[in-house]
Amino acid sequence: MPPVAAFALACLLIPLLFGGKAIEFRDAALPEGTSSVFASVDGIPIHVQMLDEAEQGIAGAMQRIAGKRILWLGNSQLHAVNQYVEGQETAALVLHHRLRAQDADLFTFSYPNINLQECYAVFEYLRTRLPMDVLILPVVYDDTREDGVGGDFAAIFADGPTVSHLERTRMGRAMLVNRVNSEGMDAFAGIRRTTQERVEKHLDSWLAHHSRIWELRPQARGKLFLYLHYLRNFVFRITAQTKRPMIPGRYALNMEALHACLSVAAEAKIKTLVYIVPLRRDVAIPYVQSEYDAFKKDIANAAQNHGAIFADMEDVVPAEFWGQKESTTGGKNMELDFMHFKAEGHRLLAEQLWDILQRENLVETTLTQ
């Protein structure tokens, strides 16, 4: 009978297609050739990617004596190292060491493709926990193409103090209205608070322990979407160098979030350093030049309007320190990586930031506990 044969065939297909090497989907934006490196000092994380990890990092940061506390909030450029070799340091760690020598402290939060709306929400969340003097905010053109606050940040909207902060800005209120978007990441969301929830969780956990196929499901879901992504790139010949046009609607929302973030920081007497992230310049950039120029101008204007420090770090990392990543179509050829660089690039970025922090007197020390 076809349905029975189909079921048997499906059970064979799943391990065959999705049972290979597991992919760490937490690093979805970081393909082969790029490694995630989250630094710790004395076993305490100083650089995290998730909100729950932030709690431990903040607790550690609060134990360290510091004249100034600095939060660095950005995308995967901060934690991804191309062609990483064990023992190399990210910009976050290099800068942390530099700052510690001056009795200042740096805590870094970076998340792949984080957009400015998410940056604003995370900033509001972290500032209720970590008293800070300086915010370092890298702005990435690519990430202005993203929209909304992702499910990994759902905890932000369940946190009373953060919610009351968000309610003070138009962007924050809009985020709160749409917070439902951030829920539903839980696989049992459809039966929450019902009798069925308990039974379903029990059955699910029993199957996950007794069936290889059931255990493979999260991997299979992730891999399937990855294959579809490769397929789209293959069909439309999308590569790392394909121009990404601006999406005006999303761009406008992200700019509004940036203004909200800078305004809130200024109000809270948190000095902000906004910088345009390093960009690979040895080949044509994957953006429409006029749009990219307008973007840089908008960021500079926003910084100026809110009394923030603006830095264009586009040329900080020279061509030789940029690396390669795996093909966007899933092929064997490596492609140029426009977002992440090698450890040497990290060092240069940290040094440049250190210079700016010093120049702007953002790390002058007045020791406080």
């Binding site: 297909l13 909304g148 749409n178 439902v180 609607g249 929302l253």
Partner: protein, 485 residues
């Protein structure tokens, strides 16, 4: 209990085995009790409401049949309607009603104190209420005799595959099948399994995947969306709700079929309709047939039908005159409100009424057009309209809907965009796939079916692919959209 879960699959296996093995009396008790368990797995505290509604109509129907005089019959019919509609009104519309009264008072300058009312809507109340009303009205109209066996009758009203989101069944279509179990046939098993797998595929892979994109898009402020984005979101939500709701119907029909019970079809490629009338012969057929027989035709003063198939369109054509236009708008406003206590649903319903009126008025012009223009043009216009109407259905308020419709009227908005390129691509793929499936169903599959080996191979491969996707994606991550109605 929701269908897209392991719990339901286990529950269904047990129910089917018991249904196939127990004797008549025990089997009927099993259907009734298992339906109670099915419902109670969502919220046990709302089970008495279903039972109360069921019992009311059981008694009312017996009393109506017992009396020959019109007066007591009308009294019992009104009692049944008052109880059913009263429950529906209380749970579904009280907050909406109060909110509107308060807004009205505010408009008159009366500053009423804030009134906060939180009433949980019992799952499926709109569906089982309509089902019990149809039963009592049919007994009143002497179309069917009342069912004396309460367990059998309750089994019909509460039959778990269709209890919370239809199809809305007529008593004469189901009670007989429940009363006399047909012989076990392998074809029932195969057909039932196919429908369940197909329904789960539509829900867990397609509808739930689209849900995130649709929620995100509708969550964006209207000003950040371009006109093409509004079209795209309307189409995407149209596909989401179609996959979601038709998935429920597939699983309901498949689950019943495993027990040898045949339920009526609720969908028939609605987005292939070539006219608004045809759309309602293909979309949520059991509801539009219900509306036809218990609301629209009585309002028109026309002869009612008695079957949960056919939809609204065809029968609506039998009634003529100005009265039908009033009836049409009243019916569609009520149809909209049935979906939810919000003016957005009324707006959605009235849009459908308006397009039907326009379609009727355009008949003389249409008839002069070549056949090919009539068919393909009709399809494009109906599809575009049906999709745009979903905007009112999906938004949270009339002003939100107005803001999105406003973008469509702004020429500048056609040069603006707020969605990612892949969203447009996905929409085009969905549209292409839907058309392809409808065409394949009509032309290719009958040809392939004639070659048995080829058909077995194609079907097994196709089913294996969607079964694999169902296994991978089966999670109760989202309820069915129609659960909120």
């Amino acid at each position: 209990m929701i269908f897209n879960s392991l719990t339901y699959l286990v529950f269904l296996c047990v129910a089917v085995v018991l249904y196939r093995t127990l004797g008549r009396r025990m089997r009927l008790w099993m259907v009734f009790l298992s339906s109670c368990v099915f419902y109670g797995f969502w919220r046990w505290e709302f089970l008495p409401i279903v039972l109360f509604s069921t019992a009311t109509d059981y008694i009312a129907a017996l009393q109506i049949a017992r009396h020959a005089n019109r007066r007591p019959r009308v009294v019992w019919l009104c009692t049944s309607l008052a109880v059913n509609l009263g429950l529906l009104f209380y749970f579904k519309y009280t907050a909406f009603f109060v909110e509107n009264v308060w807004s009205g008072l505010a408009l008159l300058g009366i500053d009423a104190p804030p009134f906060i009312l939180k009433i949980t809507l019992p799952l499926g109340i709109s569906f089982y209420t309509f089902q019990t009303i149809s039963y009592t009205v049919d007994v009143y109209r002497r179309i069917i005799p009342p069912e004396k066996d309460f367990v059998l009758y309750a089994g019909y009203v509460m039959f778990f595959p269709q209890l919370v989101a239809g199809p809305i069944l007529r008593a004469k279509e189901v009670i007989g099948q429940l009363s006399r179990r047909g012989p076990f046939e392998l074809t029932d098993l195969g057909a039932g399994l196919r429908r369940i797998v197909y329904g789960l595929f539509l829900k867990v892979f397609l509808a739930d995947t689209l849900a995130g994109i649709v929620d995100n898009g509708f969550g964006m402020p209207a000003a950040s969306l371009g006109a093409w984005d509004v079209w795209t979101l309307a189409f995407l939500f149209g596909f989401q709700i179609y996959f979601d709701f038709s998935a429920y119907s597939h699983i309901a029909i498949g689950s019943a079929r495993l027990m040898g019970i045949r339920l009526i079809e609720n969908f028939n490629f609605p987005y292939m309709a070539c006219s608004p009338r045809e759309f309602w012969q293909r979309w949520h057929i059991s509801l539009s047939s219900w509306i036809r027989d218990y609301l629209y035709l009585p309002l028109c003063g026309a002869t009612v039908e008695d079957r949960s198939a056919g939809g609204l369109g065809k029968a609506a054509g039998t009634a003529k005159g100005v009265r039908t236009t009033y009836a049409l708008f009243a019916t569609w406003a009520i149809m909209g409100l049935w979906h939810g206590a919000n003016w957005t649903f009324v707006l959605w319903g009235l849009q459908h009424a308006a397009i039907i009126v326009v379609y009727r008025a355009g008949a003389p012009v249409r008839e002069r057009l070549p056949q090919v223009v009539r068919v393909y043009g009709g399809w494009a216009v109906t599809l575009g309209f049906a999709m745009l109407a979903w905007i009112a259905f999906r938004t949270q308020s009339v002003s939100d809907a107005g803001a999105l419709y406003g973008r469509l009227l702004d020429p500048q908005a056609y040069l603006w965009r707020g969605l990612k390129e892949q969203t447009y691509l996905l929409t085009a793929l969905m549209l292409g796939a839907t058309v392809l499936c409808a065409v394949a169903q009509q032309y290719a599959l009958p040809v392939i079916r004639r070659r048995r080996f080829l058909w077995a191979t194609v079907e097994t491969a196709g089913l294996a692919a969607i079964t694999a996707l169902v296994i991978i994606f089966l999670r109760p991550i989202n309820q069915f959209i129609y659960f909120q109605f």
